[in-house]
């Protein structure tokens, strides 16, 4: 039987990898991938815990919500990345350190 702890460890690993990507990557799209990884780690946890809620299915439903939100987030983020690229001709977040025009 797969225990909860197993799932949690896997999600922790994924979370840390996502963290690493967010902090170290010089490419906005890769950072976005990192964010997706973290989200997936969270969804995995939700799903794993949702196994013990047969009636309300809160874990699974919120996993669904999270997936949908991630999609929305990604869409907006990509739109932003495209705009940034148009303006700065780069998607390295380190080079984009000005709020003004």
């Amino acid at each position: 039987m797969i225990t909860l702890t197993d799932f949690l460890v896997v999600s922790a690993v994924l979370f840390c990898i996502g963290l690493y990507m967010i902090v170290s990557k010089r490419n906005a799209i890769q950072i976005l991938i990192g964010i997706e990884l973290i989200l997936n780690a969270a969804i995995l946890n939700l799903v794993a815990f949702g196994k013990y809620d047969k009636v309300n299915n809160s874990g699974q439903i919120f996993a669904l919500f999270a997936i949908v939100l991630a999609a929305a987030t990604t869409a907006v983020a990509l739109a932003i990345i495209l705009n940034v690229y148009r303006r700065y001709k780069t998607i390295d977040p380190n080079d984009i350190n000005k709020l003004r025009d």
Binding site: T5, A12, Y20, V23, L44, V47, Y52, A63, A75, T90
Partner: protein, 182 residues
């Protein structure tokens, strides 16, 4: 060692390794495509966690939606992005990434520590749930229940999410339109 368990380890292994590769790869295209694999593996893990509906949604939305979107963005951002990235240092553990690796490792240790300390399998509410037979069994069909719950108990969040999704899509479309024509 049951088949399920083997399958779990296998899928976990694939997910973690592919994620690591995506993290370490300098090539954005590779990174994106390996991320596909991670997502598929994760979908498998959801199935193993007895959440087949979520797994399907994952594949549909992530693989079918998000990844395509990312690929589009990548392709739209042009060649220069690739060039810039290629000039970077090719070593995995460079002086610049070392702090990030250290940070992630430390975080992992902390999280592991927390997970082990929490001893999630013996949490009171989980024990109670097991004892009350409130646990999803592999042969139970949960889709009906999810649908009912979405439309009853979680109607308000559902609607809010749908509006948010709409707004996000409109916003994304607005942001990504060509400038100067507005």
């Amino acid at each position: 060692m049951t088949l399920v368990r083997v399958l779990f380890y296998f899928l976990s292994f694939i997910a973690i390794v592919s994620a690591l590769y995506a993290a370490s790869s300098k090539n954005l295209v590779r990174s994106i495509f390996v991320f596909f694999v991670t997502l598929f593996a994760l979908a498998g893990l959801y199935v193993l966690a007895l959440a087949d509906f979520v797994a399907v949604t994952q594949i549909v939305i992530y693989v079918g939606g998000i990844l395509v979107l990312i690929l589009f963005a990548f392709m739209l951002s042009g060649k220069e992005t690739l060039n810039v990235i290629k000039q970077q240092n090719s070593r995995i553990i460079s002086l610049k990434t070392l702090p990030a690796i250290l940070l992630a490792a430390l975080f992992f240790i902390v999280l592991l520590n927390v997970v082990l300390k929490a001893d999630a399998d013996n949490l009171p509410w989980i024990r109670e749930s097991i004892s009350l037979k409130n646990e999803i069994t592999p042969n139970a069909i949960m889709i009906d229940n999810i649908g009912v719950n979405l439309m009853t108990r979680y109607l308000l969040p559902f609607e809010a999410i749908s509006i948010l999704l709409l707004m996000a899509l409109v916003g994304a479309a607005h942001l990504s339109r060509k400038e100067g024509k507005a």
